[in-house]
């Protein structure tokens, strides 16, 4: 009996282990080694931390990272603000039989690729685009306005592309909430803001945390949206990694940046969890 159990465990564990080791652990070890390789003063190969030191010594690199992290945090917060009312409406206000239908409607745009959606936004917002055309023909403005290539548009694009990943955990955690909790609070004289902050938010906190982690990581690691919609000012940290690999042919530096991104973003998430007194295991369960 015991032997059977072990065999079963082995059979079911093997794909997971293969996946982890072959596709995640080994490439990361390769990257780590690459990031530590350099040349000494005579041009011979040597181990060095200089690629990591470059990040901290060159203002432009850590500046880009800080900028990226701040914008990713802002994206996370804005995404929450936008999706919470939607999730609340779908689960609590509208009749139960429409919940599934409305959720599908919410998912629908995500059936096409991110690239297509971003180009869609660009067609709408560009100077000779749809929105400018409508505004001019209505006589609201006389000359077209360039709405692309600034930080506001870029943030909007990021929020739009990550909305789904906040909405789904919010909906599932709000769905499990008993309406009578809200009704009871109401009967006992709690004001709407009190109900919101004391009952709903704490109840949905797991959903919020897991949504926030996913959205933050997606925004931080996004390459497409900042590059296409942000235009001339949008140096994103992933773009810098791409540049090191592709434009400067400096793979060692690029690998070091990749690792720094991994470490620093893990640290930010850890700090965020500590500050809000959440636990990773519970948030993801």
């Amino acid at each position: 009996m015991k032997n059977y159990f072990r065999l079963g465990l082995l059979i079911f564990l093997t794909p997971v282990l293969l996946w982890l080791v072959l596709l995640i652990v080994i490439p990361h070890i390769e990257l780590l080694l690459m990031s530590l390789k350099g040349t000494d003063d005579y041009g011979n190969p040597a181990w060095t931390f200089s690629h990591y030191a470059t990040f901290f010594n060159e203002k432009i690199y850590w500046y880009t990272f800080v900028r990226t992290a701040v914008y990713a945090l802002a994206t996370t917060f804005l995404t929450f603000l936008v999706t919470f009312p939607v999730a609340f409406y779908i689960t609590k206000i509208v009749s139960k039989k429409f919940t599934g239908f409305l959720t599908i409607l919410l998912l629908m745009p995500f059936w096409v690729s991110e690239l297509v959606r971003v180009y869609g936004w660009m067609i709408l917002l560009r100077e000779s685009g749809v929105i400018n055309h409508i505004l001019i023909s209505l006589g609201i403005i006389n000359t077209p306005i360039e709405m692309l290539y600034n930080d506001v548009t870029m943030m909007m694009g990021l929020v739009y592309t990550s909305m789904l990943f906040m909405a789904v955990p919010l909906i599932s955690s709000l769905e499990g909430m008993d309406d009578s909790l809200i009704e009871a609070a109401h009967d006992l004289g709690a004001s709407p803001p009190t109900i919101f902050f004391k009952i709903i938010i704490p109840y949905a906190s797991h959903g919020i945390t897991s949504g926030a982690i996913v959205v933050f990581m997606l925004a931080l690691g996004n390459y497409l949206t900042p590059t296409l919609m942000g235009g001339k000012n949008s140096l994103w940290f992933t773009e810098q990694i791409y540049n090191e690999f592709i434009a400067s042919f400096n793979w060692n530096q690029g690998a070091a940046f990749g690792f720094l991104l991994l470490l620093l973003s893990s640290f930010i998430i850890w700090a965020g969890l500590k500050l809000t007194r959440q636990e990773l295991g519970r948030a993801l369960s």
Binding site: E58, I60, Y63, T64, R126, E127, S128, E146, L148, Y149, T227, G231, K232, N233, L235, E239, Q240, N243, E244, F245, I246, A247, S248, F249, N250
Partner: protein, 354 residues
Amino acid sequence: MKRMLAAATIAFIGFAATSAQSAETLKILTWKGYAPQELVDKFEKETGMKVELTYTNNEEMIAKLRATRGAGFDLAQPSQDRISSVQAEFKIYQPMDYSKINGDQIIGSMLDAVKKNTKVGDDSYGVPFCYGTSGLIVNKKLAPEANDYTALLDKTYEGRISYRLKRPTLIGLAFAMGDDPFAKYGDPTAYKALMDSVAGKMIEAKPYVKNYWSNGDALLEMVRSGEVTVAMGWDNGGWKLHGENPDIDFVAPKSGALGWIDTFAIPAKAKNIEGAYEWINFMLKPENAAVFTNAEKYATASKGAGEFLDKEVAGNITRSFTEADIDNIKWYPPVGADIEQLEGKILDTVKAAN
């Protein structure tokens, strides 16, 4: 045991079959437009091979081949100045066997120049395919005064300027400032000082730029719609737009258009080498080269193609270039890895500046 053997046999046969099949395909790593469908069809019919195209640019081409150490493709088309230093360091190409190339159908001086510029050790690695220049694409009705790279920094065209945040822009602006960046390739310190001052000017004028383009088609679309009136781009793009709207044209900058030659080079671990040579000779055959030039407006390195060209295409060069402009073209010399790394950081600084 028997079953395992059978499985292994099947796997082996499958493997052999796929490798036999891949000998019949020709995988080309090239730029968009460098292999018109008409010619691909013709080549497939003549040789029975199947052509697979992957579109890319110089930087990604090198990165892709470097990642596989020169495997995965049978033919690549890097620019001639980007071959020798990359080859010296990463060994991603194999020496070109010029006895298999039909040299009679290639412009002699250009073949010699490419041989010289792609030489590493005793071997050369490139065969010229087409050439052209980078300069200005201008809407002459809306920006009649733009005739040099400095127009890209000019407040007059605020919000109507676009260029690529890549090395040609740095080099063009350095020439416009009266300097010669190519002469400083050998002296990284002097080169960095020059490029830092160019970057300073670019940052100062950054508010006037609409965006940094990265996709040629997207640029043409912006110029076509009038959103951009002054752009740095390739001559063939300007000529394409001239066919649609006579106000738009390619302008050779006063301080010199930047001349490039794109080549054929064979990756180190190419499988279908014979096919690669066949493709090179096929593409440079005068009547085929003319099909390419008529469609894409790039000038070809094929010697006898002139008589097959459309009249408008032949007229493009005389319209955009005077005799003096042609003499003033700055041809890219081979560039070293240290120079490219230094430029990468400078371009990042420009992009990050506000």
